[in-house]
Symmetry: C2
Subunit: 192 residues, 2 copies
DNA sequence: GATCGATGCTAGCACCGCTAGACAAGCGAG
DNA sequence: CTCGCTTGTCTAGCGGTGCTAGCATCGATC
């Protein structure tokens, strides 16, 4: 029995290794550079091994996305819990969100831009994604305003942050005004 | 002279043909399906011909983007000019923007998501892109609020719309609440 | 110790963006 | 009208992609 256990453990280790390698290459050279050949070379196994863990590249992106979503949720909660007032919590949340997107562009893309084969906004949505949304909803529900569905408000706020993050990073917004834009967005959207 | 003129005209025609073909294939089967082979087959020339018009695939995306930006600007102006009050103009603008993104996903991606080698938000930004931004700034400047830079406000509003458009289309926002989200965004962001 | 299934490998498929070099068509000069 | 040359297009091919069929080898089990 113990042999099988060990094999299972080793398999799980190797799977984590694949995800970590994909993330590292993507963060360093972009997702286009994450090829099955480079990935297999990185983990020191041949390409077909990848396919014994994942259906294909898409699923590898999905795995990175789930890992990233969990980290984002943690970062969001840490930021929000360090502030006193509802408004301060939301400001901290927004800064943390945009900071994460800027510091981990490849992971952010895996979660919110690329197709990782994940299901969003449904009953069978993976737990890390649900939890990441919840980590936004918690502080934002406080400032949604009377008669406004907190979920809907969170969606709008999140989408706005996503727009700032993606347009900003692709050079479509002027450099240097990020903080002013964030401040304006928070000021206008929340009701406190 | 006339012969050269004719040749120049034919060349320009063919270039338009390439852009139109790229757009058509992208809109029908996604940008991944826009390969140089399929494109060349579509225009009934060999692949190298593409490279006598464009440096590569990126530039073709850029050409589609410029065309799309011009159409977006026109759609935005048409929507805004059909409304009476500043608030109504902005609501119409938002709906038109999101409608365009939904009806022309490939073109929208060419302009705002893919890398078409275009420069945004700078002096040497291509005119169609500047004009597209101006078409947003016109109605939005009216409702930016006192002491708020209209340009900055437009960036924030635009980014929010972009977030709604992209997250919505990739299935990351619940289906069916688009109009409510749009309404909430407009209600909160504008000052009238 | 032999057997046999699990496991990872080599090799290769069809496709990608892009380009070198051959080749033909059409031009101006003599 | 013919010759040479430019201009334009094509065929063929390079190195890369995601993915897979089929073989070989290793190691747990009887």
């Amino acid at each position: 029995m113990s042999v099988q256990e060990r094999k299972k453990r080793e398999r799980a280790d190797r799977e984590r290794l694949i995800v970590a390698a994909a993330r590292e290459i993507a963060e360093e050279h972009g997702w286009d550079a994450v090829t099955t050949r480079r990935l297999s070379e990185h983990i020191e196994y041949s390409q077909p091994v990848l396919y014994s863990h994942f259906r294909g590249k898409r699923e590898i992106i999905g795995a990175v996305a789930l890992e990233g979503a969990a980290e984002m949720a943690a970062a969001a909660r840490a930021a929000a819990s360090a502030a006193d007032t509802p408004r301060a919590r939301v400001t901290a949340l927004a800064r943390a969100y945009l900071g994460f997107a800027e510091s981990n562009p490849a992971v952010y893309d895996a979660v919110f831009r690329l197709d990782g084969g994940l299901v969003f906004a449904q009953e069978d949505t993976p737990e890390p994604l649900k939890d990441a949304f919840a980590s936004l909803l918690d502080p934002l529900g406080e400032v949604a305003g009377d008669g406004i569905d907190p979920g809907l408000f969170t969606e709008v706020f999140w989408a706005s942050l996503h727009g700032l993050a993606t347009l900003g990073r692709s050079g479509r917004l002027p450099k240097g005004d990020a903080e002013r834009r964030t401040q304006l967005l928070v000021d206008r959207l929340i009701m406190d």
